[in-house]
Symmetry: C2
């Protein structure tokens, strides 16, 4: 057992250092003084260098060779340590450094190009990023599919062919549903002004309502909502807009989904490779089921309607049915992050197909804008009006995140599977949600998904929890039924 124990002790320190790096990110987005940016960059680089050295430490290879775990959990720990080690040693140090340098510059150029609506100012550096990331993908793939190797960073044990099969099944039905919904009269949008301190108060209440443990977490404001940290210290952020309280509330519920996953993991896995969510897709399944299937349900929005009336008085929505329609209003738009449940996945599929083609060399960076605009017109029925509403809207590619986008939709697909099983397992679900009681739902998710952390591969945990092979049918059925009902289709 010595080699196994030594490896786990080493790994535990590495996990603790990883938590520190994550907390520096939290600090930077919430409380860091503005003038500290340059120093923080050096601090982050220093701890990343320590982490990289540990991840590729030759002793890890020796320990892995000698370690003899005594149970399935130990084997899963070794599986994840081996995966991280193999990944760390495959990428040459100078390539990793070049990627860090170029993406750091590219992010600034992207922000400027987006502000200037100038695609051509971004394309040269994007071409560099694509070239370097393709080299990294080739180093990781070692003869296999380059894009698959990238997906592996965010969604391990999952191939792009599996994802494409799911997406190909979804796209026509979503295009059809979207078109049908948008031919119907639009529900009222929210209007008026909502005090931002009252929003934060209700936000805090919503976090607790969804089981977020404030003894091991906290809620702050940030420009972009996020969840950060694992184990005993899992913090979330949200944001407020005076005219759009739903942004605050549903950002909060979404991040609570991520945070509840991290908080719900078996404490035996604390600071081990199994002590964090297993993949971005499974993570997103938790945030999405909290936000959408639960948080935007007729039952829960009935409770939320009362909470909002209590916090803000009459805000011009007649009753709980009208409120439900307003919360779930489908509306034309260009921006992925503002999209509703019906349209969101169409935004993702567009990006998935384009980035996969970029990595395969089937699409050139110079043709990206035209390809984006053509695809958008085909799926959404109208033309992109300017680059900031089109191919310049997301930060991801500038910072080298290729293979990340599809995990958002995988999360929705997984949430669909889980929600189907949850409804079967908790017959009183709607009655509970109507009282603002999420414990039936969150308890089931904790028991069946969250507690396992990294123990099972992503598709395996979804299958174990939902009893079905992960696929898009439950999500599509849920969307067609929900929006069919809302829009009288």
């Amino acid at each position: 057992m010595t080699a196994f124990n030594d490896l786990m002790a080493f790994q535990r320190e590495t996990s603790a250092l990883g938590q520190i790096a994550g907390r520096l990110g939290w600090d930077q987005e919430t409380v860091m003084p503005r003038g500290a940016t340059a120093q923080r960059a050096e601090e982050m680089a220093a701890i990343e260098a320590v982490l990289h050295a540990r991840r590729s430490d030759p002793r890890v290879a020796d320990w892995l060779e000698q370690a003899a775990p005594q149970d399935a959990v130990g084997q899963a720990q070794l599986r994840e340590i081996r995966r991280a080690y193999d990944r760390a040693v495959k990428v040459p140090a100078d390539l990793a450094t070049a990627i860090a340098r170029v993406t750091s510059a590219a992010q600034g150029k992207w922000a400027q190009a987006r502000a200037d609506e100038d695609v051509s100012a971004f394309l040269p550096v994007l071409a560099e990023v694509v070239s370097l990331k393709r080299q990294e993908g080739e180093a990781l793939a070692q003869g296999g599919d380059v894009y698959d190797a990238m997906v592996e960073d965010y969604e391990p044990y999952t191939t792009s062919a599996q994802i494409a099969a799911i997406f190909d099944e979804m796209r026509p039905r979503l295009v059809t549903l979207r078109a049908a919904v948008l031919e119907r009269p639009e529900p009222a949008a929210l209007s008026g002004s909502f005090d931002e301190r009252d929003q934060m108060r209700l936000s805090q209440k919503l976090a607790e309502t969804f089981g977020y443990d404030l003894n091991n977490g906290r809620v702050d404001k940030a420009v972009h909502p996020f969840s950060s940290g694992s184990g005993l210290d899992v913090r979330i952020t949200t944001r407020t807009s005076e005219t759009d309280p739903f942004n605050c509330f549903y950002s909060t519920i979404h991040e609570v989904g991520h945070a509840a996953y991290e908080q719900g993991i078996d404490r035996d896995y604390l600071l081990t490779p199994l002590g964090s969510g297993v993949s971005m897709g499974v993570h997103e399944s938790q945030s999405r089921i909290y936000e959408n299937q639960l948080g935007r349900s007729r039952a829960f929005t009935g409770w939320l309607f009362d909470q909002m009336k209590e916090a803000f008085g009459d805000f011009g929505i007649a009753d709980a049915d009208a409120f439900y329609a307003t919360v779930n209003r489908v509306h034309n738009g260009y921006i992925r992050t503002e999209a509703d449940e019906v349209q969101y996945n169409l935004h993702i599929m567009l990006r998935f197909d384009l980035e996969r083609a970029l990595m395969a060399g089937d699409l050139q960076v110079s043709d990206l804008e035209a390809a984006w605009n053509d695809r958008f017109k085909a799926d959404f029925g109208y033309a992109v009006d300017r680059p900031s509403n089109g191919c310049l809207q997301d930060v991801h590619w500038s910072v080298g995140l290729f293979g990340y986008f599809p995990t958002y939709s995988l999360g929705n697909v997984y949430a669909g599977c889980l929600y189907q099983a949850l409804r079967g397992a908790v017959p009183a679900l709607d009655a509970q949600l109507a009282e603002g009681d999420t414990s039936g739902a969150t308890g089931w998710l904790r028991e069946n998904v969250q507690q396992h952390g990294g123990l099972y591969a992503p598709r395996e945990i979804i299958q174990r929890a939902s009893g079905v092979e992960p696929g898009p049918e439950p999500l599509l059925g849920y969307l067609e039924e929900k929006f069919g009902g809302l829009y009288g289709l």
Copy 2:
């Protein structure tokens, strides 16, 4: 130059990691969720292990041997790197681990013993701490004076004999001054209630008034006020008590003194061994001169009186002269941290003599309480009523801080020297302070002390700035004049 540059690059990463460890400490005292304590302990241990490994990295010895700095700044950098390296390699790893383990337990036992007023419950673990720290001191001293080696950790290039000579000169005059002041009628104490949010607002204004740069810092609340960080990210905390706004305001000004020192260091030294304050004593000279010589002056308190009337309305003090007397009220008490300018140093000298005797083996832990109580009676004229007001009041010894206490009084002595020189250099000082303008004072301190960071040894920087050999006469003269005037002596 290669060895020198390699060493400085290595050192720069170490400094960045040190900043991260410091920021974790800030996080723990201000924003960390309560339930995260156990995880944070592992995180701190992990980064401390990284730091220790770097500080004692054998490459540092090689680089030090080969490095050829080209100027005095480079030589000073090497001097500080060598000092840290020598210190790191002298202490056996198992001894360092034992000290960390025992002091961690001792802190809890001290807190419980203090709550229970039970010295005997603390003495066994204190004896362990003393024994281990003495072993550490012997390892560091290598035949030299054990207590000197401990002082070196906090006040480099300074011997306990130098400190004792200063203290021996101070003690009789302070005892005399104290006794004379306390025979006179006592000024009114502050009474009433002061809104804590208004305290924090005025606190923030005071921080800016004393030149604290909020672009590279922030003010939060914590149980114990502190300043944390160097360079571009220097944060302070303060505290509020509804009945005692002076605690908030003077804690803030004190911490701003520390923070202004760190913020004022030449940016060329960022993340180098010269990029932090050179010693605890010089640090304390900045916090004390801000807090006392400037912040409690007749001129500045006149301005503060108006600020407080504006914030809180009439609070029962008739005029600025009465306010000045209230701010500087001398009052019997047992607790060091609550002591006024006249009595504070007597508390320190007591601790200095006792801890020096403990380390020399001239005082046994079992005799500590009696020795404390005898000395207190001798200097203050009345008996300690209970251990929490006596030898159990401070956390320092439980966590192994021996050699630290004298730096508080050294700071006061240095502040006395600096203030004497400042008055000569800025004739308009009082006129400026009366307008709430500290720029003459803080500009002079920045120019003559703060900007140099670790470039000069502690006594050298004070001598350069003040033009005199550091000694107690300026402080004693200042105290006798100030309190002689206030109390009509």
